[in-house]
């Protein structure tokens, strides 16, 4: 019985339920964003759930017209071994390597994952 929805819809449905999921190859490698098969060699994939912790791989600060605070766009390396583009809540600009954790926003038109610095 084939899946009735594609991997992107399945990922978004899990996120809507509050779970950040990614995929794993049998050899342990991680795949994100979700695919039908592993990129490169077509190996089969299984789903797994992330604990939502990672480190900032890179960060860029984008000043806004006052009084809006600057926006902080980040690339986060999740502990499980995949990378996401996201944003941090405004505040002091953390350095590359800072530990962060996921905050799932289930309410948006598209559910999404923001991050905050681990206190």
């Amino acid at each position: 019985m084939p899946d009735l929805i594609g991997p992107e819809a399945r990922y978004l449905a899990a996120l809507r339920d509050g779970r950040l999921t990614f995929q794993r190859r049998e050899d342990g490698g991680t795949v994100f964003p979700p695919r039908l098969v592993a990129p490169g060699d077509g190996a089969p994939l299984s789903w797994a759930e992330s604990a939502g912790f990672g480190v900032i791989h890179s960060i860029t600060e984008q000043p806004q017209r006052p009084p809006a605070p600057p926006r902080l766009l980040v690339l986060v390396d999740l502990d499980e071994g995949f990378r996401m583009l996201s944003h941090l809540a405004s505040g002091p600009v953390p350095s590359i390597g800072t530990r962060v954790r996921a905050l799932i926003d289930r309410e948006g038109e598209i559910p999404s994952v923001a991050f905050e610095v681990v206190p």
Binding site: T60, Q62, R71, L75, L85, S112, A114
Partner: protein
């Protein structure tokens, strides 16, 4: 034998080149500018519209622009290529055209592009469409991607804002010598540092211009080009590489596919970086120049920031980079790639006026598409380099 050597080295040449409407070109549509640059490139070659049997374009806001151009020019083309890989599109067009000409399927390829985005919208018109993974974060693209790459490069290699500024100042120095360039007023490092930050570490003066402008080249067989208006500018080698679409999927934020595209082009041409008299590269942001000089073999990885210091790539420096002023100071109508080919052609022909290089026989032309996603390298040379 590596497939890189299957590229038809020297079999084709740029016979005509032109720019039109660089800076501001109100009153023209993008399609009209594209067509006008094409007609001017044909006239430059001494060819007629009736000679054209293949069209290559990627219009900014019309995804079927190749059809619109065929209709507008009324060309009975055997081949129309509307391939879109961002700003590298036109160098990919040139690769395809070179193979088709060498196979004798087409004789005369017109590669042309124009945009009126400064006059029409005043903002960069980007073809990037975000995925569900990017869209909720509302990243300003493409600059967010380049800011993230630049921040990582600084973190790993100690690259500084002064290094990025050196790229901006060098581009302005060349532009001052080019009457066609849009920004020619002197630029100091103080002014560079005072400019508003857009996406750290990149500020306004790290970003390419938003201008109108059009460019075109005519490609034909080198043997045929010998009988045309100008000495042929031979296509010695080319290569391309795509590593990702969105910045989160870039395998390494500080290493681009120019490593592979450059290696393929050098292998096809039989020349290396030390042989190049100039580099014409797509400087959408100052970090691009640093990344591409590293990845195309002009300095080791991580050394790009130090390499560009002290006027090294400015007029009179040790390596001539973007002798027209580049996307940073000459022209950037949304996609710049094709202008690298036109400027190299002008230099190799000796038509570059005050900015003419004393030795201008071999050029590395390199263009980028997306957020460091698509990289294409083309090596052009004077007939003596064949």
């Amino acid at each position: 034998m590596s497939p890189d050597h299957a590229f038809p080295r020297g079999a084709t040449a740029i016979a005509g080149a032109a720019t039109f409407g660089v800076g501001e070109c109100p009153g023209f549509t993008a399609l009209e500018m594209t067509a006008k640059a094409g007609l001017m490139a044909l006239a430059d070659a001494g060819l007629e519209l009736t000679d054209v049997d293949a069209l290559f374009t990627a219009l900014p806001e019309d995804i079927l622009g190749g059809l619109a151009l065929a209709e507008h020019l009324g060309v009975n083309a055997r081949f129309v290529d509307n391939n879109r890989t961002g700003g590298s599109s036109f160098l990919n067009h040139l690769m395809t055209a070179a193979f088709l000409i060498d196979a004798r399927y087409i004789r005369t390829a017109l590669i042309t592009y124009g945009s009126n985005q400064r006059s029409a919208s005043g903002k960069l018109v980007s073809a990037l469409r975000p995925s569900v993974h990017e869209a909720p974060h509302k990243p300003m693209m493409p600059i967010t991607g380049y800011g993230l790459s630049a921040a990582r490069h600084m973190h790993l290699y100690g690259t500084t804002r002064d290094d990025l500024g050196a790229v901006a100042l060098a581009a302005r120095g060349w532009a001052a010598l080019n009457p066609e360039a849009f920004r020619r007023d002197p630029l100091t490092l103080e002014q560079y540092h005072a400019a508003r930050i857009v996406s750290s570490p990149l500020g306004v003066l790290d970003c390419c211009l938003v201008t109108d402008g059009a460019a075109a080249v005519v490609l034909t067989a080198t043997d045929r080009a010998r009988d045309l208006a100008h000495p042929p500018v031979a296509v010695l080698g080319a290569g391309t590489m795509t590593t990702h679409k969105e910045i989160a999927q870039m395998p390494d934020l500080t290493v681009t596919g120019a490593v592979q595209s450059g290696a393929r082009a050098y292998a096809a041409a039989g020349y290396g970086p030390a042989d190049m008299d100039m580099v014409q590269l797509y400087d959408a942001f100052t970090i691009n120049t640093i990344l591409f000089l590293e990845d195309l073999g002009f300095c080791p990885k991580g050394e790009g920031g130090r390499f560009v210091q002290g006027g090294a790539i400015a007029p009179g420096g040790r390596l001539a980079v973007n002798t027209n002023g580049g996307g940073l100071s000459c022209v950037h109508p949304g996609m710049y790639g094709l202008f690298t080919l036109v400027e190299a052609t002008r230099q190799i022909r000796g038509q570059a006026g005050a900015r003419q290089l004393a030795k201008a026989d071999l050029a590395m032309c390199h263009a980028n598409g997306g957020v460091l996603s698509s990289q294409t390298s083309v090596i052009l040379g004077a007939l003596e380099t064949l």
